[in-house]
């Protein structure tokens, strides 16, 4: 499981690059169907992606490569094909965001404070993926403790997006916090990946990377074994090239878990089988509050095209109002840090992870450990969270934010009486350069469109719409009512079919 891996056991470069350009570009659905039809073996798929992973280290998308794991799962899949015991994801290797505990495999959540931590347990979501036959290509880089929108806060160094502006070689961010996941899928060094979304951390990087990503209804995916950031907001979800691929992965990831008290006790729908881009009879809500000043024309123009595409699919656009939209980000930046400040208290050097000695006995150890182990953004958010919960400020900040959250959820409830799905841009801009955004507040504003759906616990997804003037992807964002992932997937499919987004980053790495 070391980073720089010897690939001497693989085939010759020429046939490898053929295999690479062939299998890498396939969707999960294509890989699955092709494997089942016998066009190629699971081992070929795994070897292909392992090689791709090893050849793309410049991107820093993976913090840990696990080629043996992918190969072992592939061999099991090949045997299963022979014996007829195929599982839904037999033959499919995927990348796992380093926020998911993987038994015996280092899990760091992008942080120095968990360096060397090998969990003696597997997260429910990744266990389910394994039970569905999937293999693991490696652990994917991410913003530290999922706090960030650019993958620049990782203790493993930033992820460099495979995308570049036309005629520029400035390193861009892939978005965050699931930056590694987005970059890997976009660079085709994973056919799909798991991400988590607390305030846009699946959807925003998906938009920046020109791929699809869905955050399901809160509670759909178990949080057991997912390193907690903000408990009432965290949700696991898939990131892949297409809507269908997301549906396939989400079906395997979702489901009731009795070990998680916030897990939804509801059956997992057959999202893939029920995919339909026929939106006749559906109303698509266009919220006026998402038209914000200062957003580039490209973004709003794509939004208009998105409305046309959905109309073409049979939907009727309806103007709606979500009056408390502008308060969503500030409310989020009270609630999420507050929960995080408490969730991250366990990182104290006592039972696992980093321990630093400092003067002052036990308290000195705590302070020294957390000083050395946490990055600046994490510290900032813990400080904010501690402050807004502290005596004298709790009512004014935290309780107030919870009330605003209730109003935002109410906004959506009322809106869904008038429409079935809501369409907005995913992000207020395309990907920006690494190191370009130094003001934390400016960074937070990246999630202005994504955060309301997080606060309301609603299913939401981003699908690639078009590239902007500089050739960078822009995404369209769909939100539906609780438990109605099918609606966002279907609307996403309708857009995907009409957008004809085929752009891929040119390989420079």
């Amino acid at each position: 499981m070391r980073r720089k891996r010897n690939t001497g056991s693989l085939r010759s470069p020429r046939s490898l690059s053929e295999a690479v350009s062939d299998l890498n570009s396939k969707t999960i659905a294509e890989l699955r169907d092709g494997f089942r039809a016998g066009h190629f073996s699971a081992r070929e798929i795994a070897e292909n992606f392992n090689a791709a992973v090893a050849g793309a280290r410049t991107l820093n998308a993976y913090t840990l490569e696990t080629p043996d794991d992918a190969l072992a799962a592939a061999d099991t899949a090949d045997q299963a094909r022979a014996s007829g015991d195929l599982l839904p994801l037999s033959g499919i290797p995927i990348g796992i965001k380093d926020l998911f505990a993987t038994r015996g495999v280092e899990t760091t959540a992008g942080s120095k404070i968990l360096a060397g931590f090998r969990p003696p347990y597997e997260s429910t979501v990744t266990a389910k993926l394994r039970q569905a036959g999937a293999g693991m290509l490696g652990k994917l880089n991410m913003d530290e403790f999922a706090m960030g929108s650019s993958n620049e806060t990782s203790a493993h160094g930033p992820v460099i997006s495979p995308w570049r502006r036309k005629g520029s070689n400035v390193g861009l961010t892939p978005g965050g916090s699931s930056g590694g996941s987005a970059a890997a899928v976009a660079a085709q060094i994973a056919p799909g990946a798991t991400g988590t979304d607390t305030g846009g951390s699946i959807r925003q990087p998906a938009a920046f990377a020109g791929i699809a990503g869905i955050k399901p209804t809160y509670g759909r995916c178990s949080r057991w074994g997912v390193v907690a950031f903000a408990s009432s907001l965290d949700q696991a979800g898939p990131m892949a090239k297409t809507v269908r691929d997301c549906a396939i992965l989400l079906e395997a990831m979702a489901g009731f878990d009795p070990k998680d008290s916030t897990s939804l006790d509801a059956p997992v729908p057959l999202w893939e089988a029920n995919l339909s881009s026929d939106l006749r009879g559906k109303r698509v809500g266009i919220p006026r509050e998402y038209r914000i000043e200062g957003v580039p024309d490209d973004v709003n123009r794509l939004w208009e095209r998105g409305i046309e595409w959905l109309k073409d699919a049979g939907a009727v656009p309806v103007e709606i109002s979500l009056p408390h939209t502008r308060y969503a980000l500030p409310a989020y930046y009270i609630i999420a840090p507050a929960e995080a400040s408490s969730n991250l208290a366990r990182y104290d050097g006592v039972r696992y992870g980093l321990r630093e000695r400092g003067p002052g006995g036990l308290d000195g150890m705590y302070s020294a450990t957390r000083e050395a182990g946490f990055g600046a953004e994490v510290k900032r958010r813990i400080m904010i969270g501690t402050y807004v919960l502290s005596a004298g400020f709790y009512d004014a900040y935290f309780t107030k934010a919870q009330k605003v959250r209730a109003l935002i959820k109410q906004d959506f409830r009322k809106a869904f009486e008038l429409c079935d799905v809501i369409l907005t841009p995913t992000t207020p801009s395309a990907a920006f350069g690494i190191g370009e955004t130094t003001d934390p507040l400016a960074m937070y504003l990246n999630d202005v469109f994504a955060v309301p759906a997080s606060l309301a616990g609603l299913p939401a997804m981003s699908v690639p719409g078009a590239c902007d003037k500089e050739g960078l992807p822009l995404g369209l964002h769909l939100i539906a009512n609780e438990l109605d992932e099918q609606m966002v997937l279907n609307a996403g499919l309708a857009i995907e079919e009409r957008a004809g987004f085929t752009a891929r980053p040119e390989k420079w790495w």
Binding site: G225, S231, V350, Y352, L362, Y394
Partner: protein, 495 residues
């Protein structure tokens, strides 16, 4: 008209500037009896090897989540019902955030804003022998929370050791209103509370083992004034110590105030060896626990079926049992002694069920059985004499087969040999006689031998009657029926 007993004088600390009243509130942490912990499936049994009863949740590994144990909730609800308290169908868990090595999560899951149980009350008797000391002590609330682990400081010169076995065990925190006014009341409250918990079966009340501990809040004031500043003395683990803390703290505060000082609102620890309380190292920020609703849990909602099951599962509680015993003719004092501990009460119930006459049985248990058990250092659970055997013995006295005096002898033999009462009486020929002929013959001998005393008796010394009874009983080796002896003596002495 019956004379009303004078109310006992209220407890006062005598200071230089006058009398001071002490105000006491108790917060009791009681470990809930259950197989598994409150939010994890690890075992709760006492005394296991370190860190063997620890789940990933208890160790606060990344990504772990709490799931509540229904039995723990049930025991807290049953306790609330037993304390006549309001059960809150809707309650919520909050996180209490602070850093300590025995608290892996960096927070304790507790209930601040919306506890499971609301206001209730307990009736206490500060002095068992004085009914006028009866008082109602209010319960403010009961909530459910996690216990912490254990830190050990004396195993290593520079390190402390952490054992998380106890971490996550369910606790009930029972908060009283500040209604107590003396060490005796505090002691009586704690004893009564413990008794009720043991009746209910929700906590074993074992203070030495730490399954029940008290935080003692004490303040002083001049009678009639408002509440003074209180101190909190934490983790006191016996009734005796609680009473000592009240006394010591009250005196300390009076001295402090009378010398011009101020009582600091602080946390203190009791040192049982020195008999004093001392201030814990001042932790200014220890009080900012930043409570907020635990986002890993949903609100707790209890339905009618659950509450009904809790209610109907309760046994007869001490106060009700005491009233019932009194209705059967048992004295208030005896009734209170018999119901003080659930084991005793259950034993006594069995004795009544075996047919014993309540008044006689109660006197015998309190005087004879307790005496014997104390002497032998045994608890009633391990009584060598069963309720059925005791009932047989008492029956022999009731139907006149043996006298009370002989019964004592028989009881001793029962304790040693384990034989039944009837068998002992039969095989050792201990039946008492009511044969007036034999009794008359003995009486005549006694009176003849003590003619002088007979004269004195007839001359007015009434108390000599007892002498004659005693002599007659002695001559008949205690086997004479005392009532018959009395009757015949009266007749012969012409009294």
């Amino acid at each position: 008209m019956v004379a009303v007993a004078e109310l006992a004088a209220p407890f006062r600390i005598k200071g230089e500037t006058g009398d001071w009243e002490v105000v006491v509130g108790l917060e009791v942490h009681a470990q809930i009896v259950s197989n598994a912990k409150l939010f994890s499936g690890a075992a709760t049994a006492f005394g296991a090897e370190p860190n063997t009863q620890v789940s990933l949740i208890d160790a606060a590994m990344p990504g772990m989540l709490p799931v509540p144990n229904s039995a723990c909730i049930r025991q807290a609800v049953r306790t609330g019902i037993a304390l006549d308290a309001k059960i809150n169908r809707w309650s919520r868990f909050d996180r209490k955030n602070y850093f300590y090595a025995d608290l892996p999560q960096g927070y304790q899951i507790s209930q601040l804003y919306h506890p499971l149980v609301g206001e209730g009350e307990i009736e206490i008797l500060a002095d068992e022998k004085d009914l006028s000391t009866a008082k109602r002590i209010g319960i403010e609330r009961i909530h459910v929370e996690q216990d912490a682990g254990k830190l050990m400081h004396d195993q290593h010169p520079t390190l402390s050791y952490v054992d998380l076995n106890r971490c996550g065990v369910a606790l009930m925190e029972i908060v009283s209103r500040p209604d107590m006014r003396s060490p005796a009341e505090a002691g009586a409250y704690l004893r009564k509370l413990r008794s009720i918990l043991r009746y209910v079966g929700s906590c074993d009340g074992n203070m030495e083992e730490g399954s029940m501990r008290a935080d003692v809040n004490v303040s002083v004031r001049k009678p009639g004034a408002g509440f003074g500043t209180r101190t909190e003395t934490k983790n006191v683990n016996s009734v005796r110590f609680v009473m000592a803390v009240v006394e010591h703290e009250a005196k300390r505060q009076v001295e402090l105030l009378e010398s011009g000082g101020e009582v600091a609102q602080e946390t203190r620890l009791f040192d049982p060896d020195k008999g004093v309380t001392r201030s814990l190292r001042s932790k200014e920020d220890a009080h900012d626990y930043r409570y907020f609703p635990d986002p890993d849990l949903l609100p707790l909602e209890l339905d009618d079926g659950f509450l009904e099951e809790c209610r109907s599962s309760l046994p007869e509680l001490p106060d009700a049992k005491q009233k019932r015993y009194q209705q059967l003719g048992i004295t208030p004092y005896n009734a209170s002694v018999l119901t003080a501990e659930v084991e005793t009460a259950l034993w006594f119930d069995a004795l009544l069920n075996a047919g014993a006459e309540p008044k006689q049985a109660s006197n015998w248990v309190v005087a004879e059985l307790f005496g014997a058990l104390n002497r032998r250092g045994e608890s009633i659970d391990h009584s060598p004499v069963t309720p059925a055997a005791a009932s047989e013995l008492l029956g022999l006295v009731a139907n006149g087969t043996i006298s009370g005096t002989i019964a004592k002898q028989v009881f001793e033999i029962m304790l040693e040999s384990g034989e039944g009462a009837a068998h002992i009486v039969e095989s050792r020929g201990l039946k008492q006689t009511s044969d007036t002929g034999a009794i008359d013959a003995e009486i005549d001998k006694i009176l003849a031998a003590n003619a002088d005393k007979v004269e004195q008796y007839k001359g007015g010394k009434q108390q000599l009657f007892g002498f004659f009874v005693g002599q007659t009983m002695k001559a008949m080796a205690g086997k004479a029926n005392p009532q018959v002896v009395n009757e015949r003596l009266r007749e012969k002495l012409g009294a």
